[in-house]
Assembly symmetry: C2
Homo-oligomer: 303 residues x 2
Amino acid sequence: MSLLIIGSVAFDAIETPFGQTGKIVGGSASYISLASALFYPKVGLTAVVGEDFDFDFLERLKKQGVDTSGVQVKKGEKSFFWSGKYHLDMNSRDTLVTELNVLGDFDPIIPEGWDSPDYVMLGNLSPQVQITTLNRLKKRPKLVVMDTMNFWMEIALPELKEVLSMVDLLTINDEEARQLSGELSLVKAARVIRNLGPKYLIIKKGEHGALLFGPDDQVYFCPALPLEDVFDPTGAGDTFAGGFLGYMASTGATEFADMRKALMYGSCTASFCIEKFGTQRLEEISRADIEARMEKFHNLIAL
Amino acid sequence: MSLLIIGSVAFDAIETPFGQTGKIVGGSASYISLASALFYPKVGLTAVVGEDFDFDFLERLKKQGVDTSGVQVKKGEKSFFWSGKYHLDMNSRDTLVTELNVLGDFDPIIPEGWDSPDYVMLGNLSPQVQITTLNRLKKRPKLVVMDTMNFWMEIALPELKEVLSMVDLLTINDEEARQLSGELSLVKAARVIRNLGPKYLIIKKGEHGALLFGPDDQVYFCPALPLEDVFDPTGAGDTFAGGFLGYMASTGATEFADMRKALMYGSCTASFCIEKFGTQRLEEISRADIEARMEKFHNLIAL
């Protein structure tokens, strides 16, 4: 059993009402890897970075149990860079800078031993790279999860629809679900999106939790933990997905009923992510910290 | 055991993306009474209407088991009238008309037999009328719940603070909680508001559910049912409060642990309210309809 992750490993610069960072490590796959490695020992990462990257971060990923042999380093090139500033309510942000750099022509190489994973997470990347990744696998994984964003709906909708037809589960936020489906009601949006391919759909609503939709009109709701402060929301959605899939992989499960508890673990893991800038908090915690906090989730919804 | 409700019984004119109404019956206490009467047989209503009111509605309330002997009819005066138009997302609305009419000098008369209720719901009204109501009761009820709105924070904050110090539970929406507390984080807002008096606080988040805060940092989350369509959200918050308190009264309970299930019943009742214009849907359903839909709530959050 194994879990393969592809996505961005990059630099971010973040400004929130609580402060701002210089260049720190970010990227969808950084968060996803750290989160899933908290639950599951066999995690492999496919990504690309430039020569300027913080290679100590890759060492730390290895220590957490992540196989980084699929991380290409492009000589003479720079890592993907994103900079953003959060508004006071932390629910919205402005992108200040996006420099694609090495992501511009990313050719995902699946390292030896990783071409037949049981679980796959396609982090937010161009749909074409997501398709190429799936095409390079030797067998159909048990569960393929993908994330995407509004940007790809605008510039690569045909490719996005193609990859949607190849995956089992899409994670997307509420605004993006409405944009992709053209429906305001999330229930209707879910129906439209599931008709595009994915059997399962997770609609992420930030501080308002997440909804899971599945066959036979099944719906499950997972809350977010109400928190005193949201220090930095960057990566929370990726951490959520990583915790979710890491837990799924740890149980070997693939069905709707199994996803309920996995969602709670994802939401719990994300509640740590936002306590400090970047990946810092995720690098500090252990599975025991997550289990301790899961108590709070149970109290939050138990009748 | 008895449940006394005070609030507006009025006319509304509502425009949503699905259509618009002429003058129909509305008002906080109309929704609260109908909702609580679904759960509890001894409900009494204190309100004021003008000579123009739809008296058939009062007859229908009586048939649902509501004692309307506390509803004053002011000769030669007009009923309170509110008109509003919902935006496309149904989460926000513009008020088009507000005519106080009989509410301008409402002197709440507690009818005979209703001066020692066990449960009291102070629907959204001027804080002064809410205070007068409580002062006219002969004994302290077991549980006093109040609702309010941003309008009173702006024009009657001292009186609002006075009534807050007299009640057990406040229901308020998230935006209003932030305004009243000056805190963006709902966890912090809850702490500030509970320090103003109410031991319990319910923060209503519309389609995102509701949070209950209580002593010892207790928090409980109740989801809203994801729906295909929201036809008319008017009265959903009042219906939620009415269902909540009606269920509480039916069990005789007053503690945090008891409120969990009551919140689910409130949310379930509100999910019916929004299916048709005004009070129409609430007048059609029975407790059996609610119990049947509660299954969906359990499936929505059960692990």
